[in-house]
Symmetry: C2
Subunit: 456 residues, 2 copies
């Protein structure tokens, strides 16, 4: 990302090189490998991978925050606002340091720290939690598990952000945690949409901008246009930039399935391939994904169900075959599948047969296309485009130096007060005392009455 | 309301006449009268007034719902949607009978039935209830009272709607109450705005359109324009259409105060006036309120703080002197006053002095105008005009035959499940059993250990 017409880029040194990042990226390949490793070994590997990634994030944040000349350079720019993704709260810390209002642009934070910081209720009875794969209609067992996760969320947030909590103290010199820093945010631009997500309460400073990335459509380059044209249409296949390389046995499964379908396949892939590539498959290092999906010839989209690709697919109404890998992807895939607009396959147990069946289903069964068209029409029928909405609220924050009138008055309340448990204890006591006094009075009356009768 | 270019009006007979309605309206005058009546008499009168009004509403609803030819006429029109105010749920009942999706346009329902029907959480810890006059920052006593009201709301709803619950059964022939009928609503267009209201959670099918009425501005009629012009500007004085007549002692107080200010006063009033009217006061049976407030000469707005007038005043940034009478007006007035954009006076204890002081404060103290300008700029800085937003969502419901994807999955849950009390009981039991077992185990171990030692 070099300097552009409307923005400047500042580069700062970090104590690692590109080879280190590549080595982290390549660990995705190991996770996908069908191996004879034991469960413990797998968990160990996964844990090592997570540790490497979080280490990278922390190092990047530290070298930025404690780069005094960089921070003073930023301070001198007299910015009006900070636009940041608070999942990695480096930008939020800088905003607090410089006393600037913050606009958050994010997909969400797994431990619901975003909702907590915005003071937004998320009743576990109908708001399914991350990673559960539940819908908004849960049976008792699901609701119990969902509630348990909701109760454990504060602990998960602590684990996820303990290093940043520590950084906050060091960098800001005040006793604040990340939760408190984030609760200062003026506006939350959430890359979410109710065409995909289940209805849930939101606070007035949470603005949904899911689908912000599917506005621009350009014609395809001439060679690609002539290649994709044909009566059977084509399949778009991308697994995002995180998956640069896949194990051989998996690429072989995909190639074998593609060999048996009449559609052409455009596959974004940077890894190595052994064996022949079928004639109907074109492998490219980069593809104009949005323009391809917008093309009338697109019949299916094989995707890892990352939110960007998902919204592009919904935007252009292309049924999906989803192979979620990590993060929010399994939940995304589950949601789209529950609406009948796609099929989910597990990358670890995928076979040529299951892949072929999935592809044929979504291409030949008209219900997938119909459901996707309905979803797409709901998603795109909106009073303002998500990009315009994002611009409006960002400029709003700049014009009014924040958006204090939209911030809920929940941050002075502790959780006991928030749920009015103190009041309920008081009311219950009053009712109890009243009942006890009534019973005592009645007893007294009865005993006097019976004594009187005996005397009579 | 006669037939227009874009709508038809249907008239149906009711078993009362205009004189009956006038007699109900005139009871407002009695309520305002400074009398020597006892408290019990006052309450009796107020209760009789409420009974008269609800009787009128019920009679109107019944004569419409059980007018078979009217209902079959409506059914034949093949409407796409019903637009109604569910405060009086006649329209909602017809929508359910005809199987049509409903768009609600409303200010709110006092017992929070609107929020309940939409499945919207309203935590009493920071969402002040109707009629309390509280803000979103409450002390313990206020929070306790607010929670008590929240707990009593279902009872209040029963009292308010018991007659309509009965009507629903008679008209629809099914065992449904009004709460269930309203929970079917597709979209809730709420005449509310966070420039005035305190931040609170909302559901995705609740759309805020407060200020929908202040779009159109026309120049004043020539005679009025020349009359209001002058270096001191003018005051707009209206108490809404409900207050047609006021007691003499109160009109005298207003006239005496107006005599002592340099501003001109335009007073919308249909009642009688004894004694002279000062030269700077013009009494009119109807005023172009919105156009007057939009005029640069408007210095102050004396209003009963009804939501329509309030939003027009905020729209045109005119500081207000508010004399709330009933309904949501005291809460509205309290909210605007808490933001420093107006002054509240009690109509029953009003004096020439208090009125003069209030008027002079809001006209001469620049802080009121500044606060009002700030409020107005927040209110008007929006991505879509409320009228366009209302049109969009109404047409959305017509295009998609409802908005099911925005409806929360709370209506299959009873309150015990909604608050996950069943899950909490289960989890608490599990924890309790675990603790008890642990204690028992430890006891057993200790006793064996001590026995062994003794044996040693």
């Amino acid at each position: 990302m070099g300097p552009g017409k409307h923005y400047n880029t500042v580069t700062y040194p970090v104590p690692y090189d590109k080879a280190f990042i590549d080595s982290i990226m390549s660990t995705h390949k190991d996770v996908m490998r069908k191996s004879t490793q034991s469960f413990v070994e797998k968990v160990k590997k996964r844990f090592a991978q997570i540790q490497k990634i979080t280490g990278l994030i922390h190092t990047t944040a530290e070298t930025l925050l404690f780069n005094a000349s960089l921070i003073s350079h930023l301070a001198q720019q007299n910015f009006d606002a900070v636009l940041t993704d608070p999942m990695v709260p480096t930008g939020s810390l800088i905003a607090r340091k410089l006393g600037l209002p913050t606009v958050n642009l994010l997909r969400g934070i797994p431990c619901s720290l975003d909702m907590k910081a915005a003071g937004c209720p998320s009743p576990p009875s109908f708001v399914p939690r991350f990673f559960t794969g539940y819908t908004d209609k849960m049976n008792f067992k699901q609701r119990a598990f969902n509630t348990l996760i909701a109760l454990l969320e504060p602990l998960m947030c602590r684990l996820l952000y303990w290093h940043f909590d520590h950084l906050a103290y060091q960098f800001l010199g005040e006793e604040v945690g990340i939760a408190e820093v984030l609760s200062d945010s003026a506006i939350w631009l959430l890359r979410s949409d109710f065409a995909l997500e289940f209805p849930r309460p939101l606070m007035p400073n949470i603005i949904l901008v899911g689908g912000i990335n599917c506005n621009v459509r350009n014609p395809l380059p001439e060679d690609l246009e002539s290649w994709v044209s044909g009566e059977h249409g084509f399949v778009v296949f991308t697994l995002g930039t995180m998956i640069s390389d896949m194990p051989e046995e998996i690429t072989a499964i995909f190639l074998e399935a593609f060999r048996q379908i009449p559609q052409k396949v455009i596959w974004r892939y940077t890894g190595s391939i052994t064996g022949g590539v079928p004639e109907n498959v074109k492998i490219m290092k980069w593809v104009p994904q949005n323009d391809l999906l917008a093309h009338p010839g697109a019949r299916a989209f094989i995707t890892h169900a990352g939110s960007h690709g998902l919204f592009e697919g919904i935007c252009h109404a292309v049924p999906m075959l989803m192979v979620p890998i990590s993060g929010d992807q399994p939940d995304n895939a589950q949601r789209l599948a529950s609406k009948g607009a796609g099929v989910v396959l597990d990358i670890l147990s995928i076979t040529t047969e299951s892949l072929l069946k999935g592809l044929n289903d979504i291409i030949k069964d008209p219900r997938y296309k119909e459901n996707m068209l309905r979803l797409s029409s709901l998603h795109k029928d909106r009073p303002v485009e998500p990009l315009d909405l994002s611009v409006h609220w960002t400029e709003f924050v700049m014009r009014h130096k924040g958006a204090k009138h939209l911030k809920a008055a929940v941050h002075d309340l502790n959780w006991f007060q928030y749920y009015c448990l103190d009041v309920i204890v008081l009311l219950a006591t009053v009712v109890l005392v009243f009942v006890m006094l009534t019973v005592k009075c009645l007893k007294l009356c009865f005993s006097r009455l019976s004594r009187k009768r005996k005397q009579d």
